[in-house]
Amino acid sequence: MEPIPRTHLSIVAGLLEILEDYQGKVDAAKIADELMLELDDMLPAIEAAEMLGFIKVDSGDLILTDKGKEYLAGNSTQRKKILNQTLSRTSLFKWLIEQLKNRGDAMSKEELIALLEEKMPDVDAAKLVKWIIEWGRHALILRYDSNSQTIRLGDLA
């Protein structure tokens, strides 16, 4: 299964804002330098932005795509719609939506961890579930109640 972003959305969005300041193209090392970050610290954000189709990476340069520009220009509802359309198409979320539908729209977090351990034995399933919940909430694909540890389908699933 293809990966999903493993960093926070506002970090990805901050990266896009900086790219926009640089007219849509800048060397990744230059941004890291400016923010006094190690390039390694920025990699999850770069990977996430690329995975979402917001940037292209070309020999060290980060290039803002039309989709990235559209995301930046949108209000919070439009941004969520873009995230929803993008993440709903990933194999991981497609699979998860199907699992939830098969179970009548509810699954415990433990159950999802167990399913993922079976399906993706090389991955730290508990960590992955944390990111699935965070991005699933952002994209309105999932709802999660941490009291009962229950995952449900979101408004736009």
Binding site: S10, I11, G14, L35, I133, G136, R137, H138, Y144, S146
Partner: protein, 250 residues
């Protein structure tokens, strides 16, 4: 008449054993509707104390604060505050934390919920209504802090180092969102007063930067920032102002 006016405000803390400890001295300043004022100065110069005096959380030892010509005595409900530490209630959900911002409003619980949900959507937190602060990143926690402050539609938003505990990319994004809220005439707030230790941040955001001295904090200078918006955070003009202000503090 300015929206907000401080006349000769002094704050000192006294105890029976030690000499009085003067934090702020002779602060006289005015803030107009629509202003974006940043207050900078060395650490310990009383920047945060000044914000708390402005909104009536603590009284000045001497001098007065006027809001729309009326002396501020006690917490003024046309101002709201955002804190560096977010100051969320860990046992309440995002929705409940935002509803707290409407605590003193005489409106029904349904109306509070409706307004809180709308505000949550505007700060990009839709989908996280039932989350608890512990489930959120720093950037999202500060969005909750912002939503709680803005849900009461305050005229003046006071911000105490709101971005300094966030990673630099998140801070970049939230600064843009704050400017969007402030510059949109249909949305609160009209007026922002922000304390920051980052001179770059102050010059990037503000119409006017107020520079405080070492303790006791006094106003050294008010620097107008006339750069057009949207601003380029890397422009030479911006950096020239940053250098000018930094040399006043150092």
């Amino acid at each position: 008449m300015p929206l907000l006016e401080l006349r000769n405000v002094t704050k000192s803390f006294t105890s029976k054993t030690a000499r009085p400890f003067v934090v702020l001295e002779h602060i006289t300043m005015a803030v107009d509707k629509g202003d974006f004022v940043c207050i900078v100065g060395p650490s310990g110069c009383g920047k945060s104390t000044l914000l708390r005096i402005i909104c009536g959380l603590i009284p000045p030892s001497d001098g007065q604060v006027f809001y729309k010509g009326v002396e501020v005595k006690g917490v003024c409900d046309e101002m709201a505050m955002v804190f560096q530490s977010f100051a969320l209630f860990p046992w309440l959900t995002v929705l409940e934390n935002v509803e707290i911002g409407l605590y003193s409003k005489k409106i029904s619980q349904e109306e509070k919920r409706r307004r809180a949900l709308k505000m949550i959507e505007m700060v990009g937190l839709k989908g996280f209504e039932e989350a608890y602060p512990r489930e959120l990143s720093g950037g999202m926690k500060q969005r909750v802090g912002l939503a709680r402050a803005l849900v009461s539609e305050p005229t003046v938003l006071l911000m105490d180092e709101p971005f300094s505990s966030l990673d630099p990319l998140t801070a970049t994004h939230l600064r843009e969102e704050l400017v969007d809220f402030w510059s949109n005439p249909n949305l609160a707030p009209d007026t922002v007063i922000m304390v920051t230790h980052s001179v770059e941040e102050a010059v990037y955001l503000a119409n006017r930067v107020i520079v405080l001295s070492h303790r006791p904090g006094t106003i050294i200078k008010e620097v107008p920032v006339d750069l057009p918006r949207p601003r380029d955070p890397r422009s030479d003009k911006l950096y020239a102002l940053v250098d000018q202000i930094t040399s006043l503090i150092a």
